[in-house]
Symmetry: C2
Amino acid sequence: MTNVSETQSSATLASAIFAALREEILSGALPPDSKINIRELCERFDVAFSPVREALNRLSTQSLVHQTDRRGFKVAPVSLEELVDITRARCLVNESALRASIEHGGRDWEEEIVLTFHRLIRTPRDDRSPGESAWTQAHRRFHQSLLAGCGSTWLLDYCGRLFDAAERYRLIGLSAGGNWGDADAEHRAIMQASIDRKADEAVSLLCAHFEKTKAQLRTLIG
Amino acid sequence: MTNVSETQSSATLASAIFAALREEILSGALPPDSKINIRELCERFDVAFSPVREALNRLSTQSLVHQTDRRGFKVAPVSLEELVDITRARCLVNESALRASIEHGGRDWEEEIVLTFHRLIRTPRDDRSPGESAWTQAHRRFHQSLLAGCGSTWLLDYCGRLFDAAERYRLIGLSAGGNWGDADAEHRAIMQASIDRKADEAVSLLCAHFEKTKAQLRTLIG
DNA sequence: GGTCAAGATTTTATCGATAAAAATAATATA
DNA sequence: TATATTATTTTTATCGATAAAATCTTGACC
């Protein structure tokens, strides 16, 4: 039994459980495609039905669990096809957003990229603390900052979703023995091309960066 | 009091209430930015807390309501800025998806476009039946079919979300006296350019189509 | 008159119980 | 033995009640 309110400090139980389950799904502790037994979760977190249901509902927001009326919840499955799908969407949408960003982004946009990149390379990758790793967070922030000048919150949000979806696969790849060694160099190149306003180059580097995750997983799983 | 289970035939109360509330928000029956009183909804639908909460949670999935811990739910606000944001995202993402679609779409893709277009122009626009109008549904299907060849479910889903978000504004515009008279002509042109594989032309027509909604609303509201 | 604090009220988040549906096991039948 | 049918168990969706938090009201005080 895990006492959620001690572990996570959140305004509501539902929020705490949401965060905990999200982490478990992303990390693979809850296996893809497995059925979710609500009672089991209630016992494990020592809470009643309502907050667990609420957390699950919120998770389905992010496509991390799937819900079917009268048949409960299950962890979203993973597949190579979905990763291909996600990667394609990422390339297309990030291209649009990055081009818009490069076109409209100002001085502050540039500076934010430099800053988040610096923090990223300073963040150790082997983080074993509970919850989302510091590196993942820094990584997300860096990618967000690249697109931050695109002028659309909706677009930015969607890219964030795609990032999270891909991150799940990356974590799966990691635990299957994958290696993302020289990501720093790639990130640096993407940063440089972006702030130099070389749109074509930045886009092609960024897409290559995404494709690499896909390729890794393909060798590991497919 | 509205007896949901009589009106909507759904597997669960939560699903029925979800659909009912979605409709009320899109149509403006629940005013943007207004606080949602859960007890009130419970009485109105004659159900307990749980299914209402569940419905609200699902609505926040679609950004139709916003939730804050311990402070409940409110109807998502509308603003000209958000419409600008949405329109920008729509143009960028639909461009990517449409280009990919034109490039990869096969014979079946073409045929589906022709079919959904035909159904769209045959659907009367003045539909007063409860629930989402038949025209809106046909309209959504037409736009989906244009992008259906893009090769990414994720991308397609996102375009659907953007469509729904824009549709909310369109309905607001309608009830404020707006008019979308010659949409048929625009749709026909978009269809033609797409199946003729004239990517640049199709994209520019499609974006103009989106911008028009924005312009309409601007004159009506802004 | 305006600000702040104590108390009353409303509203939210959570609980534990129950009815309805689905999944599973057990039995009978061809 | 395979299939259909019925009982049993599990699980889900929903309910009504309650504790905790937020909001509103009132009245004292500067």
